[in-house]
Amino acid sequence: MIDFRVDRPIFLQLAEAIEDDVLDGRYAEDGQIVSTTDLAVTLRINPATANKAISCLVDEGVIYKRRGVGMFVAQGARDRILKKRRERFRKDFVDPMLHEAAKLGIAEEHIITMIKERGRVT
């Protein structure tokens, strides 16, 4: 289940949640995705919002539709999502962290040390 936040449009958050499911392997390539009606009812959102999220994913080549059958994860979807997310990683995660660190007066070397001590996240 998704806990929607205020900071971004709902359709984007839904599209990203589906992308996360593909990244984590919960949806396999060529695997079927739940219908927009099920998404709308379960998440209690307007069906048009669910459709908008799906349209985005279709445009990005993550999902394809088969008329009368349903929606499926496209071949190569995982790689496309990975590429996009990696490009955004710095802006989405590194920049805000450095911003917060600057506010708290944490030096760059200290951050690097913390990352090394933390080790690899599995």
């Binding site: 205020v6 971004r8 009606t37």
Partner: protein
């Protein structure tokens, strides 16, 4: 497909202009939120749209036919009325009869009424069909009226306070059933409510009434994309909003949060970052409060 067109509609009660020159079009296949503070004219507007009240001037057309001239088109509109109104749907049906009898009566007025669906909804909400509305709680009376509205299968369904007296579990269930119903049989739905945050994601378009007039009508997503909040040190926020339209600011200690009615551009973002300001999106409820409180500035 049934659209509702309201043209220059007005209704006065004594000196009060309850509905004041309102024009709007409701398209098929959308869920509208009708929002407004107490006394803004929401209930009067819905009552005028279903001929429970006659307007002083203006007209309402359902599917292109003027309701003043064609009574029959009103069978395409189901109105779950405000409980407190003198001529409620509660009064259409004798409240001393059992729920199952009311369902069958509803079928005579709305030929497309889906009895099996009404019964399944009653079971989901644990509303016993042998119960008698007069003996039901406020919440269960609301549930009964909402079930009849959903099962009416009318192309247009107007809900006036559909969650009045409902607990959180029943509200959640009602919203889900409403979305499921709408997905399976696309129709025009209008929801008038004060519980804005919990209905915000269900709505596609929002209509805000203020003192009997339409203050705003647009897709929820467009509205939220066209507003942002900016927070930081009071003097810096004041400097930032000096050249922008602030629709409501709050100060706590040395910090101020202001709401600006425009799209957040990258130029805005750069200007803000130089002043150490933080930008956030706002909820529909916050925009509503800013637009409808006494000091609120209309865009």
């Amino acid at each position: 497909m049934t659209t509702i067109a309201v043209k220059n509609l007005s209704k006065r009660f004594g000196a009060i202009r309850a509905v004041d020159d309102v024009s709007l079009t409701l398209e098929t296949g959308k869920i509208y939120g009708l929002l407004g503070r107490n006394g803004a004219g929401k209930t009067t507007l819905l009552n005028l749209m279903t001929k429970k009240l006659l307007p002083d001037c203006g007209e309402v057309a359902v599917g292109g036919r003027n309701i003043a001239l064609h009574d029959a088109v009103l069978s395409q509109v189901y109105h779950m009325t405000d409980k407190n109104y003198f001529m409620t749907d509660k009064n259409y049906f004798p409240s001393s009869r059992q729920v199952r009898t009311l369902f069958r009566w509803c079928q005579t007025f709305y030929p497309q009424f889906d009895l099996a669906y009404a019964e399944s909804l009653a079971a989901k909400f644990a509303l016993a069909q042998h119960s008698i509305p007069a003996q039901l709680s406020t919440g269960y009376n609301t549930i009964l009226r909402a079930i009849m509205a959903l099962a009416s299968n009318a192309p247009v369904v107007l809900f006036d306070e559909p969650v009045l007296g409902l607990d959180a579990v029943h509200r959640d269930l009602l919203y889900r059933e409403l979305i499921a119903n709408y997905s399976q049989k696309p129709k025009t739905i209008v929801i008038s409510t004060h519980l804005i945050d919990e209905v915000a994601e269900v709505l596609e378009d929002v209509i805000v009434l203020r003192e009997g007039r339409i203050a705003l009508q647009q897709p929820v997503e467009d509205l939220l994309e066209g507003v942002y909040a900016v927070a930081g040190a009071t003097d810096k926020v004041n400097a930032f909003i000096a050249e922008r339209t602030d629709i409501g600011s709050e100060t706590l200690g040395g910090t101020t949060s202001a709401m600006v009615m425009s799209r957040l551009t990258s130029a805005d973002r750069q200007a803000g970052e130089q002043l150490n300001l933080e930008f956030t999106r706002v909820t529909l409820q916050r925009v509503f409060i800013a637009l409808t409180n006494q000091q609120g500035v209309l865009p």
